[in-house]
Amino acid sequence: MSAQAQWQNPTPGAPRTPDGKVNMTGPVARVNGKPDLSGIWQVEAEPRGPGLYGLGESPNSKYFRDILSDFKPGEEPLTPEAREILRQHGLPGVVGYNLKCLPDGVPHADLLPEPFKIIQTPGEIVMLYEVETIFRQIFTDGRKHPADPSPAWLGYSVGTWDGDTLVVDTLGFNDLSWLDARGHGHSEDMRVVERFHRRDFGHMEVAVTITDPKMFTKPFTINFVEQLLPDTDVFEHICYENEKDAAHLPGKAGR
């Protein structure tokens, strides 16, 4: 066996400090005149608060738990339909599809306690999400969205550049995924705009605006930071391999 641990593979082209570590505040490489967003990214964790107990995995973004956590209780911009969906998702025994080994949606997949990899190529940016080993294609070849896209867990994404910020416009979602662990739903009409700005080698600022008039009385934006995971990889994660949780969860709903 190699002495090199499996996770220790130097990030190509990374700026380094004299001790060999990756300089997280170092410069961002550019390709074809634009910042290269390639790398392995993990949402910046926040201290675990009381509401985060029981996650059992890495510390999370508050938006992983509640996409509307910036709003005061009672002031969330929810339509009556959205409130009813949230109520149903909160009933005992009801769990999201991701707990049944189906995919996470957008932007929840960006907020997981496991990382994703960005591969930037001419005409297309690929995201490889470790959880469920799923991919996402962001077309930067100038195409428009399809007129009537097939509903999809991760939607249909086209990307354009606003200066050094990648703007990813996604629609064509199915209405199955939950927006957060709390259980906020969305409709097939949801549109998600993610703005990715790699401010230095180790940090990417992300602003996500969600518009879904069936569910939200106004568009809203969340802001978070993705941190580069240096000198490592993403790995296969096929949840259904040995899923044992569902049988232990109470109730019948959500199965």
């Binding site: 641990a5 499996q6 996770w7 220790q8 380094r16 400090t17 001790d19 570590k21 990756v22 300089n23 997280m24 505040t25 993990q42 675990r48 608060g49 009381p50 509401g51 985060l52 107990y53 029981g54 996650l55 059992g56 995995e57 890495s58 510390p59 738990r65 769990v95 707990l99 080994c101 306690p113 496991e114 470790e130 662990a181 180790g202 941190q227 580069l228 995971l229 240096p230 000198d231 490592t232 993403v234 790995f235 296969e236 994660h237 096929i238 949840c239 391999e241 040995n242 899923e243 044992k244 949780d245 569902a246 232990h248 969860l249």
Partner: protein, 135 residues
């Protein structure tokens, strides 16, 4: 050596529980130390499992099941599928089951949980790639 089942710390105030992968079964506010002989280590998604034989206070051997992280999270924490094997004598600091059954959780997100081997080396669940970052 601490005795089996002693709650060695209570790190957090009790808070609302929130199911992600069904971990509401475990008391993540508590840390318990158990010592025993590994019977099986299952390296699998979504959660790996460590089974070990532990003698309870009456001397009876009980097989414990300790749930832990995915192979991906464990790999970035420096583990491999061969990190623990049947026959290893280990001490595990873990979050016990709320219902008192011999099942538990030890993994990322619950600071202080770890596996201590007979020769003194330890494995925890923190992402070691972060150690490669100069802030």
């Amino acid at each position: 050596m601490k005795k089996l089942g002693i709650i060695i710390s209570s790190l957090f105030a009790t808070g609302a529980l929130f199911a992600h992968h069904g971990n509401t079964a475990y008391d993540e506010t508590a840390r318990v130390q158990i010592k025993g002989t590994v019977t099986e280590f299952i390296w699998t998604n979504p959660h790996s499992q460590i089974y070990l034989d532990v003698k309870d206070s009456s001397g009876k051997t009980v097989n414990w099941g300790v749930e832990t992280n995915s192979p991906g999270i464990l790999t970035r924490a420096g583990w491999t599928r061969r990190s623990i094997k049947a026959g290893d004598q280990v001490t595990i600091i873990l979050c016990p089951a709320k219902n008192g059954q011999p099942v538990a959780y030890a993994g990322s997100g619950d600071p202080g949980t770890k596996v201590i081997f007979a020769d003194g080396h330890e494995l925890d669940f923190t992402d070691k790639s972060v150690d490669k970052a100069a802030p």
